[in-house]
Subunit: 386 residues, 2 copies
């Protein structure tokens, strides 16, 4: 193969087909840019743009006001002593695990933890013990399970875990575990607690101090209306010297962040959206109401919402026995639902899924949610006779 | 502090002051977006936009054509068997070091290695042995120095190094070491070689196979006209199972990339600029000619270019005894030069520097380079009598 002009044509500018759709993919609803972020992206798009006035440390840049954002606004927003921006929630979690643990150590995860938490532990060389959930239909996480897991793990590994993780909420059912209770149990064993808030920080109020957790990881592209990849990390004072340890080769650079992380337009979009993001977390009750309203409409049609009930988050998991039945009979098979939704300009339920799927109602508002629910209803009616 | 409206006002959209300047900061010249990338940024700015059609693996996304880009175009461009996108050149280097080495192992670095290489090794727990350069004025790196370092290190650590690194070119003098010779020497000791091409990949032709290196790291935001943070990593076939090892918890996810890296608009800008970036590496001779022409003009004014001569890269380091002399006498002291340049709308030489500074001529063309050289000359003339 040669990189000739005709081959290279496939790259260059490419349209985003889904732009005109209502997007209910949980990955997408919290990452839609605000108008301010769109403008920031155009202004700061060039490579290393934020580094024009950098003296060597990203989070000390005064112009644009990254320093104020990272050292004042973010800690206040996250309810923690110290904060940093990272390349994403997974990178935040890895930085914590890698600085606190060493190969052969072990960690406690909730049974609904995201794969990237597993991969982060694996990259660090940590063993993982999980706290079981109750399975279908609630997938409830018993806080006391953490105490049991810690005691069992101490017997198994001969030492306490380096860290306990709470996924808040998980990315399948949108369940919000009792973080405060869990943190308190873990602290009885002197185990530090990391809250994975990839689906909460920027959507709903999350305050590390109030929950009693030691670390909080958030995702800019998932839940803070930022262009990715970018994340945030909040840290309790006592752990700052460990997680933010400086290089012996360069006193200005922090090891776990390889010296510098969100060194481009990503941080500018995060900052641009921040005022609106703060605001929207204050309207969280309305989002929860919308989620419940939507869930009720779907349940009226015969869908079954799995996970916590009444639900407390916009991310929801549905079982759809009727859609599954239809998929067994129609020509297009399991792709029929995706294709019907596409006709209605609704995107975000993975192609091929009918029996089980997840979606998010975040930021859509009643009108758009109504359109989605009506579309679901129409599709069911269309195949009623089948 | 509370996050009230008046405080939050300092964030939101912020103008980029330097946008109207000629920017000669080596960090910035290769990262200026192309028109196609600007359009891509607007189209794909939302959080996780590229994931609309993701089946679970970023580099297997067919729409947009990330799969073709990562698995066909990039390996061809880098001259390597396999490639991935990462969150930056430093993250590429860390992935290689972390997968090849374990705490207590050691690595060989050239004496001009970037700080992020040091921090990456430190994060992995690797000891570092450096190959000395010849110091001022050439800072030349003797290829045989790698053999000496490897032999000395084997005596010191009782084992061969996990990796040798070549910084190509370094970020201070823009020196291009004899990578092919160095790689061949390292291979005599069966030591794999990583080329740090943060300042070369996307500016000039870099072909891992031709140079005989096993890994090549490149930077999207530094040298490939992409919005950051994003990088590329090329890997020789035999090392792919190590660096791209999959998680035991999730067979689709690669451990060193935490499952997924450039999951947003960054990859779309990299792909959008790619056709032009391929093209510009083919015009590299003209860039080198421009750099030499600019260097000659500055030397005519009494500046002294340090590093390789004749120079073979756009990144150059100058000594400026006359500017330093002036700075000792003028009111504004060492900031006078920065302020004078600012008046002329030239940005990129760090505020406060006069005696030594670096700059880049990349992509500016003769006309803009002429304006910069003329401005330097005018500033010298203005203070002639001092």
């Amino acid at each position: 193969m040669t990189l000739d002009d005709s081959y290279l044509q496939k790259f260059g500018f490419i349209k985003r087909e889904t732009l005109s759709s209502i997007n209910i993919d949980p990955l997408q609803t919290g990452g839609l840019l605000t108008e301010a972020a769109r403008k920031a992206l155009a202004e700061w798009g060039d490579g290393y743009s934020v580094c024009d006035y950098c003296g060597g440390v990203l989070d000390q840049i005064k112009k644009p006001p990254i320093e104020a954002f990272v050292h004042k606004a973010l800690p206040e927003f996250l309810g923690c002593d110290k904060a940093r921006v990272t390349n994403g929630a997974r990178e935040s979690k890895f930085a914590v695990m890698h600085s606190l643990g060493k190969p052969g150590d072990w960690v406690v995860f909730d049974g609904l933890a995201h794969y990237s938490s597993y991969v982060g532990a694996e990259r660090t060389g940590l063993n993982i013990k999980t706290v079981p959930h109750t399975g279908s239909p609630e997938y409830y996480l018993e806080p006391e399970g953490y105490g049991t897991a810690i005691e069992e793990g101490i017997k198994e590994y001969g030492k306490p875990p380096a860290l306990a993780l709470i996924t808040y909420p998980d990315g399948n059912y949108g369940n919000l575990p009792e973080a405060k209770k869990i943190a308190s149990i873990c602290h009885e064993y002197d185990v530090p607690v990391l809250l994975n808030g990839a689906y909460s920080v920027g959507r709903m109020p999350v305050n590390a101090k109030e929950l009693g957790v030691d670390f909080v990881a958030g995702s800019g592209h998932k839940s803070m209306a930022a262009s990715g990849p970018i994340g945030v990390l909040g840290v309790r004072e006592e752990y700052a010297p460990i997680v933010f340890k400086k290089s012996r080769y360069n006193k200005a650079k922090e090891i776990e962040f390889l010296g510098c992380t969100a060194r481009g337009a990503t941080i500018m979009t995060l900052m641009a959206s921040f005022p609106e993001v703060v605001q929207r977390t204050r309207n969280w009750d309305q989002e929860v109401e919308n989620a419940r309203w939507f869930s009720a409409r779907l349940e009226d049609m015969g869908f079954i919402q799995r996970g916590q009930k009444p639900h407390a988050h916009d991310l929801m998991f549905f079982e759809a026995p009727r859609l599954y039945e239809i998929s067994q009979k129609v020509k297009k098979g399991r792709y029929f639902f995706y294709k019907e939704l596409k006709k209605q300009k609704i995107h975000g339920i993975k192609a091929g899924l009918t029996k089980y799927f997840k979606l998010s109602t975040f930021g859509l508002g009643r009108e758009k949610l109504g359109i989605v629910a009506d579309s679901f209803e129409e599709i069911l009616q269309k195949y009623e006779e089948l």
